[in-house]
Amino acid sequence: MATDYNDILLRLCFHLKQFTSPDVIIIPETDLINELAIDSVKLLNLVMEIEDEFDISVPLNALADVQTVHDLANLIHHIKSAK
């Protein structure tokens, strides 16, 4: 079953909330590192959560091109549809 992008985005934002303060508003253009202060260590831990939430493997190598929430949602979508 192909999970649609919007659904992924929604679930991803829910997860990101746990890594940031409650008053931060997350939109697809939000920059993970600069705006959400998700540093390299947090990002690695976030990836493990994403893997479990979406039941996929996210190789760390794929993170090189990920800057925004949209990039990450896109990556998840890509991996999910390739399954």
Partner: protein, 395 residues
């Protein structure tokens, strides 16, 4: 941002965290008196932050062997193992490591860091997967990057988590290299090797175990976790370093897979670096014999480790999950860790300070490492200082 601006940003971040004039990183050691004592500034200090687990850095056998090699073969090999850098000592040490582990063969590398780089990048490549513990040492992460393989992490020492990730890989688990450590360098806890081996067998993967901190520390003859657990046959490749319990510098890998030898021809960290100096190899060879026969050293090491671990725990410090020669005090903030580190140094005790991002899960660590060369009285004294600092820093 220009290249140099980026470095200025690094400097600014460090300055914000660390007080001026405090040399936390790269602390200048002015004189070394013994395996456990040195001078920092004008203060005599007790080393409690080395990796000199068996205290062999001044062992007469090692000193003598190093002196002889230096006189006979010179200060350096000036070349790669691949070219002019494979002296009789290097080759003998490889055989001695293979014999020590009762394995088919062994390879000596210039450092433990390079051993991991060489092995991981030599075994796995583009299209393969490396599955590593989240708390892995930097050399393992860097080896994975160099390999070009897909890197997947599992939660530290969590075998269910590891299996879940293998299962997701499906058929690709057959081209997966799993990497774990005998004793983890930061928290000092041991890998659940029995479970890891049975899962890797079920999924037909390959397992590499880094015994950097467990060589000389675990097992009857000091092989490491493989000997402690009797599971050497379940591990495909064992790597390790001379820079801790052997008191030298260099790295090794041993294996029963005859294919190990092929890495000499393809592995860049083996080929494109000079081999260890003759004196380095000679002292490592002498130290390996002492390590193998070092039952008494291990007894002393473990007695010291248990003594200090129990004392710190009783004082209310939050420690790694398991006693051992690496005793990590886990602190909630870098500031607290810094105060503890500074307080210990002011009392003449040198330990390691580990700040984020190097500390696991963003915590800060004050990491003690115990040696067989420490005395029980020294452990008592260290405990007393920790007790005093606990009052002044945390209350």
């Amino acid at each position: 941002m220009s290249l140099l601006d980026k470095l200025d940003a690094v400097a600014a971040a460090r300055k914000a965290l660390l007080p001026e004039g405090l040399e936390v990183f790269g602390t200048p050691i002015e004189e070394v008196y013994s395996a456990t004592e040195a001078r920092v500034g004008d203060r005599r200090i007790l080393f409690l932050g080395t990796n000199n687990y068996l205290g062999l850095t001044f062992a007469p056998e090692c000193l003598q062997a190093a002196h002889e090699a230096l006189d006979k073969e010179g200060t350096g090999t000036t070349g790669s193992r691949m070219a002019n850098g494979s002296y009789s000592g290097h080759r003998a040490l490889e055989r001695e490591f293979a014999d020590f582990y009762h394995c088919h063969s062994g390879i000596v590398f210039t450092t433990g860091y390079q051993a991991n780089l060489a092995m991981i990048s030599g075994l796995a490549g583009a299209g393969d997967v490396v599955l590593i513990d989240g708390d892995s040492h930097a050399s393992i992460y860097d080896g994975c990057r160099l390999s070009g393989a897909e890197i997947i992490r599992f939660r530290h020492n969590d075998v269910a988590d590891m299996e879940k990730r293998l299962r997701r890989l499906g058929e690709r688990s057959r081209s997966t290299l799993i990497v774990a450590e005998g004793i983890y360098s930061m928290l000092g806890d041991q890998a659940p090797l029995a479970e890891i081996v049975s899962i890797k067998n079920a999924y037909n993967s390959i397992l590499l175990l880094d015994e950097a901190h467990s060589l000389g520390v675990l097992g009857k003859t000091g092989q490491g976790l493989v000997e402690e657990t009797g599971l050497i046959d379940g591990v495909d490749f064992i790597t390790g370093t001379f820079s801790k319990s052997l008191g030298s510098i260099g790295g090794y890998c041993v294996s029963n897979h005859p294919q190990l030898d092929q890495l000499r021809y393809i592995s860049r960290p083996y080929i494109f670096t000079a081999s260890p100096s003759p004196a380095t190899i000679a002292s490592a060879r002498a130290a390996l014999k002492l390590l193998r026969d070092g039952t008494e050293l291990r007894r002393q090491l473990w007695q010291n480790s248990r003594q200090l671990y129990a004392r710190l725990k009783a004082l209310g410090y939050q420690l790694g999950p398991q006693p051992g020669p690496v005793i990590a005090n886990i602190l909630d903030s870098p500031q607290q860790a810094l105060m503890l580190w500074k307080g210990l140094l002011d009392h003449g005790i040198y330990v390691n300070l580990i700040l984020p991002p190097a500390a696991p899960e963003g915590k800060a660590l004050v990491r003690c490492s115990v040696s067989a060369a420490h005395t029980s009285e020294q452990m008592d004294h260290v405990g007393d200082v920790f007790a005093e600092l606990r009052k002044s820093i945390f209350q």
